[in-house]
Amino acid sequence: MNAALLAADLPYWAQALLRVLGGVVAVLLPAGTIVYVFLFKMMSFMQSRLGPMEAGPYGSMQLFAEVGKWLQKEDITPERADRFIFKIAPLVVLVSTFLLVAVVPFGPDAWFTNFEAGVFYMLAVSSVSVLGILIAGWASANKYSLLGGLRAAGQLIAYELPMVLAVIGVIIQAGTMNLQDIVLAQNAGSMFGWDGLGNPYILTQFVGFIIFMIAVQAELTQTPFDMPIAESELVSGYMTEYSGFRFLTFFIAEFATAGVFSLIASVLFLGGWGIPFAWFGWDTMDSVDNWMNVVGPLIMVTKMMLLSFIIMWVRFSYPRFREDQLQRFAWKVLVPVSLVNIMITAILKVAF
């Protein structure tokens, strides 16, 4: 996208506008797709019901009906709430999703920004949503929300660490923190001299992938790590007092983040937008054909759907942990395992 834009020689404002629009599409499209395909339809079929069927073919227009419904609802602020912070919290959560999607590469030239320290940036901004959740919980002036916010803070911090450590394995193997280069390293790489599949890190970093997905599940506060929301305990946790558009913002952020994390996981472990370069005789980023800028995003969406499917599958079938069990799991299982993973990766990296 970048190169294409530069070639068209657009003024800066037009480029910026296009990027913002692209970001909105990259956030809303996965969110809508995940909600419709997984939350509405897959969950229904798993639970032996049909899900929405009336609005449009197979209920596909239901999403618009839902959005319309939420927009019509009254925007209530509790009397004792800290009004400004209360109102800004959903936006903070949503902003973190936009910040995340900014570094995801969709094709050889289709990216919004191309940080050298993309992984570092990604891990940093993914924690911004914690701030939003925490202030939402605090500002609601509701005990359930407060408990939910505190739980979220404890949980997200606990799971940030395994996530970072899981990614470090990938960084060591790729030797770079640039997400674009990680894609390149996977697709241009070879396994024991055979390059028919490239070298997707899910094979070598399988432990890291599992830990990353678990941490993502926790970051997204999806079952079995959904204590901050916990309908049956905390009613809806930090979201209890939100209604109308602000609730919708939380909702979009939740599923958009699920999509964006799936995108990032596919970049880190599944080879991202690329197809094994050996198939077409490419070897460097520059030699990749331009049509990959169109096919790349499609590949990314496919991989995103696959990974979100796993996230949602777990979400629909598991009960939830207790807060202390979750912490124990993070600190006593995930962190040591990921440390061992880093160690082994480093040793093998040096050895080979």
């Binding site: 639970q47 032996s48 019901r49 359930y144 079995p224 049956s232 305990e233 905390l234 939830r320 807060e323």
Partner: protein, 393 residues
């Protein structure tokens, strides 16, 4: 009428005053720790039970249920009803297994009248009783998941419970409130095709139990959420009068279906009373799961040899119950449900004490919730399994 009006006014005023007093109470409680009101409108209480919990962080220092949001005064109402009318009331006590509520009352009245239902009626009563147990407890199994965040099992429970409700509706005409039991027998005989249909449904229900066992009970998270949580030792369970699966999960081998002689058909078939030595939440859930299986077995065996004959004994058209007192309790889906009926030889009971299972089962909550974490409140309440109508009556 003036005196009546003033009485009603006073009631309303006193209610408003009570709400104000409640508010004052909460303000007082807030002075230390944090007081969390769980309910009366809370998704975990499936009804309107309110639990006031004083928390230290997420740990419960003190908790007490506050009932009465659904008190309907059935004990008082029975005093102005005739005996046949009472079954319509008691149907609403445990609304998920309604038919089972009618049976002990009818049995108590029959005991006082010294009549007995014909064998066919006894058999059908037992079948319907077990069907309502299956309908009730299968919903519990689904609900259990939802309380712990697993949203799928509850839909399976609703799906399979529907088959049982259809059977009950087919036989009695009412899905939830059959009002089918009569003094001296039953309102009607079974409809054609009921037996074959029931056999098919019982197979489905056994599959459902297997599904639940795989999906929920075998899940490590479920086990870690329930094992060792909310342990109720044997002697405490007895002191608080816990009954049903809650008591058997504490290791007490006691089932009123087996341990007393009632004019019902349980002692005609072969079945097993399941107990569990642990007394924790898992044990309570596990015992209930086994009981659904056992109930399907009971129903299957009863279907094999339903005796023929009438379903109604000879009873007078206007039922007058002779003077006396009688206590009859049965092993209802929730536990021991009993009626202490005092008759003065009238058309209606003089006094009816309704001993409902959930009232006793929930009275242990302040004891068992001490020191647990907030998420465990939910699992313990779910595993104790109460129904609001059964607490408040």
């Amino acid at each position: 009428m003036t005196s009546t009006e003033s009485l009603i006014d006073r009631r309303q005023l006193s209610y408003i005053a009570a709400q104000a007093a409640d508010a004052r109470l909460n303000v007082e409680l807030e002075t230390e720790g944090m007081t969390l009101n769980i309910g009366p409108q809370h998704p975990a209480t499936h009804g309107t039970l309110r639990i006031i919990a004083r928390l230290d962080g997420e740990q419960v220092v003190w908790a007490e249920p506050s009932c009465g949001y659904m008190h309907r005064g059935y004990e008082k109402l029975t005093e102005v009803r005739t005996y046949p009318q009472v079954t319509a009331l008691v149907n609403r006590i445990d609304w998920l297994g309604s038919f089972a509520n009618e049976v002990p009352f009818i049995l108590a009245a029959e005991k006082l009248m010294e009549i007995e239902a014909p064998p066919r009626a006894q058999w059908i009563r037992t079948i319907l009783f077990e069907l309502s147990r299956i309908a009730n407890v299968s919903l519990f199994l689904g609900d259990l998941g939802v309380q712990m965040g697993a949203i799928t099992p509850v839909f399976m429970a609703f799906r399979d419970r529907e088959y049982v409700l259809n059977l009950i509706e087919g036989a009695t005409g009412g899905r939830f409130h059959p009002n089918f039991d009569r003094i001296g027998g039953l309102k009607d005989d079974l409809p054609a095709g009921f037996i074959d249909e029931t056999r098919v449904v019982m197979k489905k229900l056994r599959n459902f139990c297997d599904e639940m066992e795989n999906l929920l009970f075998g899940n490590e998270i479920f086990q870690s959420r329930t094992r060792g949580i909310g342990v109720i030792p044997k002697d405490v369970a007895m002191q608080y009068g816990l009954s049903g699966a809650n008591l058997r999960a504490s290791g007490v081998d006691w089932d009123l279906r087996r341990d007393q002689t009632l004019p019902m058909a349980w002692n005609k078939v072969d079945w097993k009373v399941w107990t569990h030595p642990d007394g924790d939440s898992y044990a309570r859930c596990w015992v209930r799961l086994q009981e659904v299986r056992e109930s399907t077995r009971i129903v299957d065996q009863l279907l094999d040899d339903i005796p023929s004959g009438p379903v109604m004994a000879k009873v007078p058209r206007i039922i007058k119950v002779p003077e006396g007192e009688a206590w009859v309790s049965t092993e209802n889906p929730l536990g021991e449900m009993g009626y202490y009926v005092v008759s003065k030889g009238d058309l209606g009971p003089f006094r009816t004490k309704i001993r409902s299972a959930s009232f006793n089962n929930i009275s242990i909550v302040p004891w068992v919730l001490k020191g647990v974490y907030v998420p465990d409140i939910i699992t313990i309440l779910a595993s104790l399994y109460f129904i609001l109508g059964d607490i408040d009556r």
